[in-house]
Symmetry: C2
Subunit: 119 residues, 2 copies
Amino acid sequence: MPTQPATALDHTLIALADPTRRAILRRLAQGEARVTELAEPFAISLNSVSKHIRLLERAELVVRERRGREHILRFRPEPLIGARDWIDRQQKFWKQGLEALDAVLAAETDKETRNDRQD
Amino acid sequence: MPTQPATALDHTLIALADPTRRAILRRLAQGEARVTELAEPFAISLNSVSKHIRLLERAELVVRERRGREHILRFRPEPLIGARDWIDRQQKFWKQGLEALDAVLAAETDKETRNDRQD
DNA sequence: GCTTCATTCACCCTAAAGGATGAATATCAT
DNA sequence: ATGATATTCATCCTTTAGGGTGAATGAAGC
């Protein structure tokens, strides 16, 4: 049992956390492709690629259009925004944390300075 | 057997792909903390948190300093840069792909236009 | 010394990822 | 109708993630 249900951000980051899937996305960023075309560069089975695509679909990084017997995959960039935003916020929080720490250290120094004056 | 050995980027994205670990990082962005402090907000066992921290260390998103019997964890933002860069590059590639597609469509339209003129 | 506290180690369990293969399905071509 | 092509479905296997518990380690405190 998962403690919390998986969110869209979870699905996005899970999807990005595999090199095969990232390679598939890079390929799709340059234009739509069929499953077989996507599988071609990899040493793994077509079936494994099919599963990778399913995870990319779950993350909505890829959409599928059935055109007769072939499935056309297209890249969708939207989920990347959420991932990028999380990273940016994290970095921002960290810088704020540093500033807060600096403020504390400055206050300490100031107090010491004042103490020095009182001595 | 993994087809390819895991890279730093793999480790980073794997580490980010869990909500508990992201919460730990958010906490650490505001300042260092001990394992027990990090575990406190979560309903899971101290042991599970300890394992999450190990994955964060593997990704070098966190460093540990043993201070007597307690372990002080600190956030390290560097690996986030690699993750952000991947996302940015992906988005850039996609926009370039769109421009290339536009160019093709423009050429098509141009050809049709010229054909129209010839008609 | 002994006890308490902080953390990990050694297991165990379950679910999911990542891979494989072989059969099924659906479409296209003849 | 037959055969080839594109893709998934149904299994199976192995590894890892994510959770748990209880024991072991190591440092503090008394």
